[in-house]
């Protein structure tokens, strides 16, 4: 063996270009080392093989396709802020957009509040609005859950509006916009239920069925011109179901 070991020789041979002159030491080593000689033979053959791959030509229409692609990209480039503005300018643009957005929100809120403010202030300057309870049905039965405000029936009920208690006009506006207008109610539990109708046919009392079949309807006004109508279905006593109103043998309107 020579001064160089196989690993060093093989590394040196590996880094050489094909056709380069080997150093004297490597040549001397190769004369004595079969393993390295075999390595050189295989390595040279392999590199020749790989080198024989050569260059693959681009297609003939390469330039044409590239031009078309560039033209297409330029046409579709459009408006790109990144290409026109630097970082500082983009930041300024974003900040301006934010300021404009905030200003727009504030303006919209101001206009909205001004529109709702006018009727609310007018309401506070006048006497508390009164809501009217109209009773369209002949038989009025109050709901047990209704809030008691005035014990009198068919009387105008004053609405206890929170707005009138507020001294600040701004507060009034806020409350008016958030609190739903109260509905006036009446309580009739302390009174005797009215008799719908009592007629006599001979010696027997007759109760008109049509009257009890009518639904009870309330119209509630909130003082702003808005009304709400509540319809309560007629109370059924069961026996009515036994006697259909359309039967021929039962006289209409008489039970």
């Amino acid at each position: 063996m020579s001064d160089l070991n196989c690993k060093t020789v093989q590394r040196e041979l590996d880094e050489m270009r094909l056709g380069d002159e080997q150093s004297v030491q490597v040549t001397k080593h190769l004369r004595q080392c079969n393993e390295c000689r075999e390595f050189v033979e295989k390595q040279t053959k392999l590199r020749q093989l790989v080198g024989s791959l050569g260059t693959v030509a681009a297609p003939a229409d390469f330039d044409f396709r590239l031009r078309a692609r560039l033209a297409h990209e330029n046409a579709n480039a459009g408006f790109h802020l990144s290409g026109l503005l630097n970082f500082g300018q983009r930041g300024l643009l974003v900040a301006t957009a934010l300021v404009l957005l905030v200003a727009a929100i504030v303006s919209v809120r101001y206009l909205t509040n001004r529109n709702t403010n006018a009727p609310a202030v007018a309401t506070t300057n006048t006497v508390a609005p009164t809501n009217e309870v109209k009773q369209t049905g002949s038989a009025a039965m109050p709901k047990p859950s209704e809030e008691v405000i005035t014990p009198k029936r068919n009387e105008e009920v004053a609405v206890n509006d929170q707005v009138t208690k507020e001294t600040s006009a701004r507060r009034v506006v806020v409350n008016k916009s958030r609190v739903k207008p109260p509905l006036s109610t009446a309580e009739f539990s302390s009174e005797r239920a009215p008799v719908v109708g009592q007629q006599t046919m001979g010696s027997e009392p007759v109760f008109p069925i049509d009257a009890s079949q009518q639904s009870l309807r309330f119209s509630l006004f909130d003082g702003r011109g808005n009304s709400k109508t509540i319809s309560v279905p007629s109370v059924s006593f069961g026996s009515q179901k036994l006697v259909p109103t359309t039967t021929s043998y039962s006289p209409k309107g008489a039970w």
Binding site: E15, R17, K45, V50, L53, T55, V56, A57, A58, P59
Partner: protein
């Protein structure tokens, strides 16, 4: 002996020497012209590098159509980035770096999509990407041309089974014949790493190409 003809030449004789003009046909000059909107200059650059880049990407990906597309994308990127080009590197290094990045990106996409052949593949011995099993056809061939074609195909297939970190330096060195220094710049690594990877790549190829050596 030099004789001075005018007083202005005293002490400024060196300044009167004509400065070496930049070669207007160099890659740098062409790219500079491209930057100013000279389409012909860019066309010249394309004609210089289209075959090299297409071939390099094809060796990397083993897919000709895909290689052409990526080569076009390489030139598109060069064109778009002409304003940002810095002359600290040779243009060839610059364009090969773009091509390498595109090719490696494509290989990784394929790996994610698992678009490898289903004819059977095995994990490489170093735990790298899956490698196809392509046993050499041992039957005698009639024509020397056919033998060469078959041998080149076998080499190309063997190269395409190499892990990408070994594939690029091997192609740049043994196919394109580039220097270690240039390869190191293209791959943005050290020269020692390049030498080591090329040596390992050849080792892998020797194992795969035993029948042809």
């Amino acid at each position: 002996m030099n004789t001075l003809t005018t007083i202005d030449e005293v002490g400024f004789a060196h300044a009167l020497q004509p400065e070496p003009l930049e070669d207007t046909t160099s890659d740098h000059a062409l790219l500079e012209a491209t930057r100013t909107g000279d389409q012909d200059a860019f066309a010249e650059l394309v004609s210089r590098y289209r075959n090299q880049i297409t071939s390099y990407i094809y060796r990397m990906t083993n897919d000709y159509d895909g290689a052409v597309d990526l080569a076009q994308e390489t030139f598109v990127r060069v064109y778009r980035a002409a304003d940002r080009y810095q002359r600290s590197y040779a243009f060839s290094t610059y364009i090969y770096r773009i091509a390498t990045n595109l090719a490696i990106s494509e290989l990784r996409k394929r790996k994610r999509r698992k678009l490898v052949s289903l004819t059977g593949f095995f994990q490489s011995s170093d735990g790298g990407e899956p490698v196809e099993f392509n046993p050499p056809d041992e039957r005698p061939l009639q024509d020397k041309e056919l033998v060469d074609v078959e041998r080149r195909n076998a080499v190309q297939r063997a190269i395409s089974t190499l892990p990408e970190k070994y594939r690029a330096p091997l192609i740049l060195r043994d196919v394109d014949g580039r220097s270690y220094d240039e390869i190191a710049k293209i791959l943005e690594t050290s020269e020692g790493t390049v030498k080591s990877r090329i040596s390992r790549a050849r080792g892998f190829l020797r194992e795969k190409m035993t029948a042809y050596l």
